[in-house]
Amino acid sequence: MDIFEKLQNLDKRVFYVLMALAIAIPTVSPLGLPISVEAPVQQTYNFVKNLPDGSRVLIGFDYEPGDEIDLNPQAIALFHLLAPKKIKVVAISSFPAGPMFADECLAVLKEYGYKYGQDYVNLGYYAGGEPTLAAFGNKPTSIYSKDWLGNDVASLSLVKELTSMKDFSMAMTLNDGPTGGTGTHEWVRQAVMAHGTPLIMGCTGVLAASNMTYVQGGQCKGILAGLAAAAQLEKLLGKKGTGTVGMDAQSIAHVLIVAFVLLGNVAMILSKRRQKAPGGGASR
């Protein structure tokens, strides 16, 4: 077995160890690699920056634990952008774990003097996906009797102000896909098409390509895709967070993956050439 065949038959555990090192080393000692802001993130930043002061936004925490690394940093960066404008935040979730992440991210608002019930609320989980979101859009109080903390929603002044989805200057879904919760397509239908409320998407990297069409089509005002978008938003804000810390690891890991893909293909091509050459042949 020559070196090329050995490369093609490399024990996958070698790759796992290298990948673990590629992520662990920059996590413990960040390299500070440069981050450039892409057009969709800049567009999202500009849109949110121009929202009216003191208005209300609706944020859907539509994701499960596996995707919090992509979406929590996006939410936190967004709250740092909203808070100086005193924009009120209403959080809802179509996944049972969503309210927990909402709680974690909304804690940022306390740094800016936000008061629960008055400036922000975490209404919690709703079952039923799109039909329930449609009902919420028509009458927000119709689907919640208690919030995530167990308070009667009728006692929360921010909830009393709500009559329909139109009361929000912006809706945003932090989304990891349609399985089990309310997906991005459903948000476009129920927020943008039904009520004309501008929508921003925060999604995992996996969903970026399929949802970019809504931004290009003008139905969505901006999109944040994956950890990279969170890091870019943090750069625009001038605040380093978990997005920025994670980008070093992501860059190194991607270099490693690209290197292995190239190496594997080069080894395969050279190995085939050797077999075709006179006197060549697969070793046994």
């Binding site: 690394i69 774990a97 709703y126 039909p131 459903e186 476009v188 089509g217 003008g218 994956g226």
Partner: protein, 198 residues
């Protein structure tokens, strides 16, 4: 280095390490944690289900919104599928659910997913991006023109459609890889920064 004293963080970190141990080889610790995860997820789903029922149906009904008895009965009928003699009754709530979901989705889907997307391709061809969108859409659609086999010089259109789609698949796969790496970064940040306090 300041190791966390939070029991929840310890459980999370040790569980993550146990799950990652399968990368070396299948082992009993991995299976134990996997089974705990499945059991805990099912338990949480039951608790959340009961809470949702209490908050959105039972409590409001007890306060006087008696009409809520209708959806409660429909919900109960869903479980008749486990009783062979009356299993046909579960078709009533199922039909209602399907009809409602389809009706709600219909509202806006034609405009958002067909008209909106089509009009987004009708743009001024004054930039490279605009040409890529225009040609990519036209040639990709031509690829799915399956009424007859396109041959000769016209076949170049469907070939380019295939290339555009392959580029799109590549972009989607690249984003998927990015998402998976992000998931690993999340766990590593949890282990090194939150658990070990490095």
């Amino acid at each position: 280095m300041k190791i966390s004293t939070d029991i929840g963080v310890w459980v999370g970190a040790l569980s993550a390490l146990a799950i990652y141990s399968v990368l070396y080889k299948e082992n009993p610790v991995y299976r134990l944690v996997e089974n705990i995860f499945v059991g805990a997820s099912a338990g949480i789903a039951v608790v959340v289900g009961v809470q949702t029922f209490q908050n959105t149906a039972w409590a409001p009904m007890a306060k006087g919104n008696t009409l809520l008895i209708v959806p409660i009965i429909l919900g109960v009928l869903l479980y008749t599928r486990y009783l062979p003699n009356v299993s046909y009754l579960n078709r009533i709530p199922l039909s209602f659910l399907l009809g409602t979901a389809a009706g709600v989705a219909m509202r806006g889907s034609i405009e958002s997913q067909i008209v909106g997307q089509l009009s987004a391709t009708m743009i001024k061809l004054n930039s490279f991006d605009a040409w890529v969108i225009f040609l990519g859409t036209m040639t990709s659609l031509a690829y799915f023109f399956l009424t007859y086999r396109v041959t000769g010089r016209a076949a170049i259109i469907t070939t380019w459609g295939r290339y555009f789609m392959m580029a799109a698949f590549g972009a989607a796969f690249g984003n998927t890889v990015m998402g998976r790496v992000s998931a690993a970064i999340g766990r590593f940040q949890f282990i090194f920064l939150k658990w070990l306090g490095m």
